[in-house]
Symmetry: C2
Amino acid sequence: MLKVNEYFDGKVMSIALQTETLPATVGVMEPGDYEFGTSQKEVMTIVSGKMDALLPGSEEWQTFTNGESFEIEANVKFKVRLSGQTAYFCTYE
Amino acid sequence: MLKVNEYFDGKVMSIALQTETLPATVGVMEPGDYEFGTSQKEVMTIVSGKMDALLPGSEEWQTFTNGESFEIEANVKFKVRLSGQTAYFCTYE
């Protein structure tokens, strides 16, 4: 049975999987503003939609769309903002 | 609240979303063989992993990997085969 994760009262949901090399999740975020904390290095790829991200050490929001990725180091917080439902794929190292 | 779909005793799970233009799902399939039926035209994109597909009208299995897509017309059946956990993104027209 696959594992479903739920965050922010179900506004962010994901399904866990194991890729050939790394643990990962694929999920959907509802429109909104969210802050996440990392426990491992993460690579976030936008599958569908558009995600604005405020990454650690940056004072400017960056926009990522279909097929684009960004990395977040372990043990930091980062913010994302979405204007529409967005699908993402995230790996954990 | 996002909607989670479950098929084949939870071996295939997906989360529904609305893209800018089309309804879609993002999901994970456990290793195995599955037959799906379409009610609409579908475009299936592999997000992570590898999927062998036997498409309608074809007698040969084709392999699709990360970033590759295939189309399936409405109201047909098609088979897929997976050797590892595979993440996919599917739109419905």
